[in-house]
């Protein structure tokens, strides 16, 4: 058994967008390409992978640890569609005057219901996702942000999902 403390968190991107391309070994690329989906759901998944990839399970475990530590991958594990487990979600935008951008960023980011927030080049220059327990809470939080910021806004809940997913070749 490994301890919970042995789980480093995935590298998080903060502040300026990180642009550099990291150098990867052939084994890094093999792991990334092989493990973007289909990690086994079984009692000894690394042993199964060891057969599939023809290398020791220990090397796969260490390889994933190393990819996480270097920030080449940001996550290892199941990817959940938590929208199916209840709650309300929406993509929202604000039109923020340039000189008030930092102030409004602090106001918006202080809400725990704001999951992520991006500055974008557009008249609507701040885009964030609201995640709440109920539809009513979502309406209330959005209305409060509009009122407190004094900025025009858009509340654009997803009406239909055509596709989510991406496979990036390493």
């Amino acid at each position: 058994m490994c301890s919970a403390a042995a789980r480093p968190r995935g590298a998080r991107l903060r502040g300026a967008l990180r642009q550099e391309t990291l150098s990867l070994s052939a084994f890094d690329r093999l792991l990334i390409n092989a493990l973007q989906s289909d990690f086994p759901l079984s009692a000894r998944p690394f042993d199964e992978l060891a057969v599939r990839l023809d290398c020791p399970a220990e090397q796969i475990i260490n390889g994933i640890d190393s990819l996480l530590a270097r920030g080449v991958i940001t996550r290892f594990g199941p990817l959940f569609n938590i929208e199916l487990l209840g709650g309300a979600f929406s993509l929202c935008a604000l039109e923020v005057p340039t000189e008030r951008f930092e102030e409004v960023t602090d106001l918006v980011n202080a809400y725990p219901q704001v999951a992520h927030n991006y500055a974008r080049e557009h008249r609507f220059n701040m885009w964030f996702v609201l995640a709440t327990e109920t539809d009513q809470e979502l309406e209330d939080v959005f209305a409060e942000i509009i009122e407190r910021s004094g900025c025009p806004g858009l509340n654009l809940p997803k009406e239909e999902e055509f596709y989510v997913g991406l496979r990036l070749e390493a």
């Binding site: 550099e20 759901l41 475990i61 080449v72 199941p78 974008r120 557009h122 809940p157 989510v164």
Partner: protein, 169 residues
Amino acid sequence: MSDCASRPETDRELQRRIVVALQEGLPRCHRPYLQVAAELGISEETLLDTLGRMQASGAVRRIGVVPNHYALGYSHNLMVVWDVDEEQLAALGTTVGQLDFVSHCYRRPRRPGWPYNLFTMVHGRSEAEVQRQVDAISDSLGDALRGHTALRSTRILKKTGLRLRQQES
């Protein structure tokens, strides 16, 4: 959670506990599911069975690694929004979603001053590659396309991801 002594846990509650336990990912050890099951106070078999059902229902999209786009050279990630004829949107959204460089493809509502009802995210290794992708989507939309605009991101202001909070009982 703490009232589990008074009534059995529902499947929805168990699924939410599993999501919370796995929000930081799977442990890297020979029996990762056994370790997580022990933390949750359930059997490894129950955890595997529940995750399998969540995979079938779509609550688990996939299990594996999530690459950092930038580390792999995909430095050009662009949100592009499209004003598409409403009647053709259902069919065209599916077509655009199937393009292999599109990671997200959603229908969202129009608003006064906001005519765009189709949202896409595209990813490429160069400006030119992303431009070709945008052109390819335009071609797919054909006569149904009335306008589009790109929303280039300049800064990540917050990134905590979608997270479930521990439920109060």
